[in-house]
Symmetry: D2
């Protein structure tokens, strides 16, 4: 840390989440000796940056703090001497997410931001950028911590550590927070009296729970949450449809699934619901766009100097707070127990040693110390996570190399994409649709433009079409 | 071996394949000092056993051999002092296979004898029986070799070795034979001049090929077989629809897929074709039933004393020949290079040490010695085989314990079953449909009968319906 | 826990350490709702049990507590409904340790209670007894925790978990405590401001240290402790000669060794010193016997009602305090950070999944949660711990089966025993010397008695000889 | 292969083994379409090269072959377009081996060319040279095979593959040949009727044996060779003293050890014998020097045109023949079953994936295909090989980096070096003694020269002393 206080740089500073982040810092003002907060964005996000930046300044001022809040489009300069760099950027903005969701759904397959075709394309757009950021960091702030919450957080974290070589990376997720809350409510015990052990990869983890007497309560929770009285309202994730898991299958796991497991364990129900959303023009991205528009309207209010309640509706809530807690825990060697994406190093012995996993552990001044997990005892869980990790590695390889074969491979083995032929169709359409943000695939995209008029036309139609209507 | 010659016992001796087996023995008469061949079957198969048994006797006699051919329904006695036991039985006969295929397809999902819902149910019916046979063998012929070619051969082999404790088990497959033939033709080189290395699990393996100059020819073969001039006729498997693989995806593997990979890599095309077959009443089992009927008509001919040409149309051709070669190679320590299902022991480091894998190696007098394989370099291949193996382990567990949760788990993670809710529906219908052969699931089936009238009715309808028509 | 308070049973209750244990409970009286402390010993230890038991009662009374202190020789009854069972027994008492040390040294090889020939024999005597205790516990107190600090603690813990099936076992060691103290002193930082990560096996672990700013200080500590100004006084272990490590070798490790590593890294110096002790009749056991005699004299004093200062000279100090802290942390779900022997489960990926390792982690109500360690990066460390673990597994096998070949194997591969021929000589002499406590080796010992008069004579001589003089 | 015939280059062509190599080629003249044999040596070996080269030419001529035999000191040019490169050079010639053996022995510790202090120094001298050769090969003959039989063959092979990146490397050993012969004699069965499976690392492997009936004969052989009638004459290795293994320990292994295991399993006896040899001036190097002198006298005879019988006394016999067989098997895709050093790739799951192991398999046109081995079931074997491999990796690291700490680490963990203090003494003396051939350690050696007069003096004495007498 610089002598005179912390410098925290946020890439994607114009995000609607920023007020939550600022609020998190303010709440921890006694733990965080902040000197400067730098919000960085790109030309296309300039307007948002200015709105949210002004709001951030008001929040800091209202809290009576002398922190400098800097707004800039010059990422390289911004990174100079940073202590912490948080990343919450979205390459291609929400419009790209609309495509990530709607193109697959137009073919009747799941479009989902983090795990399916959508997540793969988000990785294709994001990974080259995170590696660029790291190249800048090597020069500008070689000792800084990188706290990533850009999705797909697991793949981005793996790329940063394994391919960027940035060991001081922590990947964040807000999903565990809700599961802790649910367990506490169902068992009628304060969360402090429960011990949680999560393990898996981002948006694909399971957990076990013990109480203060040392008794494992996992099976009790399976009964309470997924048993005969299972209730759609138990799902705490704003962005995931509350289809019901099948009790006997979850019982057999002897582990609690995460909300995103619905996409894998009851894919058929999730798909049905997603298609409805698609047909109504209500895919997640479309809903979020509207929420965001409302939020930015609020943020523009020069009187507003605290995080508005409406932000909680945004979906990714808790992310920013988790990020602030990570920073505070590193800064103060707090040993806070958290669940983050980190280098495996054998924590989960079923997965490659050098991949990223998302597990429970403590955040110390020197980084994250995961509790050992070992093997997944149930082959049903073990196999599907190994498959997903294989897919993730293939996505990262494709993203870095601009390798079309690897991209098709990833699509083919992704369990949410129901066959290689539809995979190729969707892959080609998405490559064309996102061409602006995929320079690494330029050759292949040119080839599509020249030789696949039908592909081009389909996407152009979809882009032109009022998204309220199915193409 | 007994002093006076080999005793070979075939469980499921009434099978239409038996003449190929007898022919294989006759062709190897100089290598195999056979004293007695015992064909065992069950009461329901008695008629077939007598037809095919008489034919076997005629074949042996025509060959001028003094081997005894014994027909019996008493398995236990038959096993006494056996040197080799081959298993080719089919629990529930072809009617069960009809259900394995048609019930899933009636819901629009793949019914396939070895890898999907059908394969899972074949395992449920078969694994308890193979473990029973092994219990008899422990008493009657503790030094015998078990040569299994009952499908799903990989899971049956794993159950025999890991759960039955019968180390002297070899699981057979005829799939590699066709791939060797194709490679030889495409490269225009005799197969003796090529080195093949297969690795994977049954009906789910890849291979690499080298020529006599030491050059690896795998990528050349990918170009020749799956490149721009890809041809449906290159598929050598009678029972698998010849949909075309996607070239770029196979290129990225740098390994040649097996024919069954179509179900995973281009599931959508295979499904479409299967549904057509379903609607025309031409699923594989239905076709085979007719072929079998014709074959048994032929076998009845008291003049016929050699394997009829028509048997080659049956689909499983080469299986029996491979079995005879295994026996000859063990008997004579021939070191024949083959591809069999065997205990992993680290041959494929990505899979559990104690599971069954299907790999290249040599057959010696003390058993199969696999060539080391190591890791699958391509995460796309590694992940999907780990998932399949996890599923197989879960199927075996369910089969042995009669565990409904495990059965649902296996259905849920099987990549050919597109969601947990349809999985449960199909699982319940199949449990009910096969109830006669699934004593281990009796409690659950009773529960279905009592509480799921719709499930019962659906199956009953399907059973009543002329299978030519979709229900 | 029983409704009315904790029952803690100590096997080997007549040990001179017991007052430290009692003191530990008294210090934690607010955390530990104790109802009864039962001190169990065997007939041969009755006198000591009575002395130390009376003292324990005085201590409890002086502390104004109403805990019952029970003395008994009836182990089985004592275990009834226990909440915690601590084990600190010594099969064969200190006389056996004298033999463990002096017989090897009489041949010029290291006799050392935990890692060399002596440790192997302590394991041979102890493992059958711990497994017996566990059989009793299965009946009498199936939910109790077993807190073991009988040496060799690593092998005893492994036997208890892996062979006894008692998952709720924690193995204790006092060695890390001293290393924490040294690091704190050398870095001039309070130990609370340092993060320690230990990994290895009992009496064979390394550690790394970080400070509150997140900086790793391991290399600094190597310089401070083992650099040019290395000082014999830095060794904190009463029972280990303070020979100096070689700086460059420790530098190359980038990990801090534990005190016992002197036996492996500078075996020659340790041996030289041990031989001196041997010749002066001052091996550790001999010194301890005298210390113990003095302690028991003190304990007899009916006025003494607190732990005497002299006990700190005993060597194993901190053991009992660590045991009390474990109990308090389990009882209160304290998450105390400790270093204990526990099941590996992949924590150290270089070692078998099911073996015992000694690592850092937190003690919770449901047991120990180790921090993941992963691989040992330095092959020099990795190889020697793999060898030691291989040896330990072989010792445990020999101890359970009474397998002479395995015993000779363990002696042969033990790095402190310089050759197979001397190994066999020492093994045979020790088997004969300890025959009273090794019923599992009875056949082999009878064979030695009948056919190896020289072996018998050597041992008999050594036993007769005044141990002040070398035989 | 070049169109007009094979070019085989031998580095260290002036070796006394060369005639065996030439004889091997001549015996395989029908399999090997040789055009040119190039014998390369260095300036210091020029005289020997000329003697042995002239002899090689006479041998080729006498066989009536038109092969060109070229002698050269220009390695780089020699490698141009080579098909096979064999390496049998000895950096520092036999004088260096004298030092490798005598310096350790002068301190009472084993000096042994391949596994102890001597082997470590041979690796220090050789590894930089093999990596240099590979750099030349990358330019001059990028498709050539490297057949190494320079010791320590395991470490040299590992360095070539892992650090030099030369995948087409095969490391040779003659040790298995003798074990095959012994087994055949003891079982009174032709070796063709036995199946051998070797696994381990160079000069540190075990084997199992089966007969033609499929029966494992390993335990029978242990009884026959190492049982009560064990005989010193059973040892077939000229260079290894025939001390007797301990039967019960070998029985416990259920594997047959190799001759070199005497250094580990009965180190005390081997050491005693070596010290005798040392005192008599008859260490192996000294004996070999005399043998070599005699051989070169013979080779000078212009009438001699075939390999003289005396060469068989040299010790490394069969090495060259094995090399010729490797070449013939690669050239002709013969699938000869051999035992070679190769990349592990999981063949032995207990060892690192990327290390070199020595195992059974077949030699094909595309290289060596090992039979899978899996785990070592006996922890006694598993641990010691893991330790040795850890040591080897550390030696290689030290050799490449000139890293003194790593060198001391390797010495410290080597099981044949009995302590870290003697290790440092011997290491320093050997570094000084070999300074001419260890440029990578120049700084440390300069430091020794300047600051350790006693070390320098000891070595200088030893060098001056008539080696017949102990210093």
């Amino acid at each position: 840390m610089a002598k005179d206080g912390l410098k925290i740089v946020t890439i994607g500073g114009g995000s609607s989440y920023t007020p939550e982040l600022i609020e998190g810092y303010i709440l921890r003002k006694d733990e965080l000796p902040i000197k400067e907060i730098v919000l960085v964005d790109i030309e296309d996000g300039k307007e948002k940056l200015e709105i949210v930046g002004a709001m951030a300044k008001r929040m800091v001022e209202a809290a009576g703090l002398d922190w400098t809040v800097t707004l800039t489009l010059d990422r390289k300069t911004a990174l100079k001497d940073a202590d912490f760099v948080t990343t919450q950027f979205r390459v291609g903005l929400l419009n790209a997410r609309v495509k990530d969701e709607r193109i697959p759904l137009s073919h009747g397959i799941l479009g989902q931001e983090t795990n399916g075709a959508g997540g793969i394309f988000k990785a294709f757009r994001t990974i080259p950028v995170i590696l660029d950021i790291i190249e800048d960091m090597k020069v500008q702030c070689p000792d800084a911590w990188l706290v990533n919450f850009t999705n797909p957080a697991g793949m981005v974290t793996e790329a940063a550590i394994k391919h960027g070589g940035w060991e001081k990376t922590v990947g964040l997720c807000n999903v565990p927070i809700g599961h802790v809350k649910t367990a506490s409510e169902k068992l009628e015990l304060p969360k402090e009296d429960l011990f949680f052990k999560f393990a898996g990869i981002n948006h694909f983890h399971w957990h076990k729970v013990w109480d203060k007497s040392g008794k494992e309560r996992t099976d009790d929770l399976i009964d309470l949450i997924y048993g005969p009285n299972q209730n759609e309202d138990d799902n705490h994730l704003k962005n995931i449809h509350s289809a019901l898991f099948h009790y006997e299958q979850i019982q057999d796991l002897h582990m609690l699934p995460c909300g995103y497991h619905r996409y894998y364990y009851i894919e058929d129900e999730m798909l049905e619901h997603s298609i409805e959303e698609f047909e109504n023009g209500e895919t997640r991205a479309q809903v979020v766009k509207e929420t965001e528009a409302r939020l930015f309207e609020l943020y523009k209010d020069p009187e507003l100097d605290h995080k508005p309640e409406e932000l909680s509706q945004r979906g990714g809530t808790h992310y920013s707070d988790a990020a602030c807690e990570i920073i505070a825990s590193i800064q103060n060697d707090k040993h806070t127990e958290m669940v983050v994406s980190t280098k495996n190093n054998g924590t989960i012995t079923d997965l490659p040693y050098d991949c990223a996993v998302e597990v429970s552990g403590v955040v110390t001044a020197h980084g994250f110390e995961p509790y050992n997990w070992g093997e997944f005892p149930n082959a049903g869980a073990r196999g599907i996570i190994q498959n997903m990790k294989g897919m993730e590695e293939t996505v990262i390889r494709a993203a870095i190399e601009g390798n079309y074969g690897a991209a098709l491979q990833a699509f083919t083995v992704n369990p949410l994409i129901p066959g290689g032929t539809i995979a190729k169709t969707v892959l080609d359409e998405m490559l064309y649709a996102h061409k602006e943000y995929l320079p690494q695939f330029a050759d292949k995209i040119r080839d599509i433009e020249e030789n696949q008029p039908e592909t081009v036309q389909n996407v152009d139609e979809l882009m032109k079409t009022n998204v309220k209507k199915k193409v």
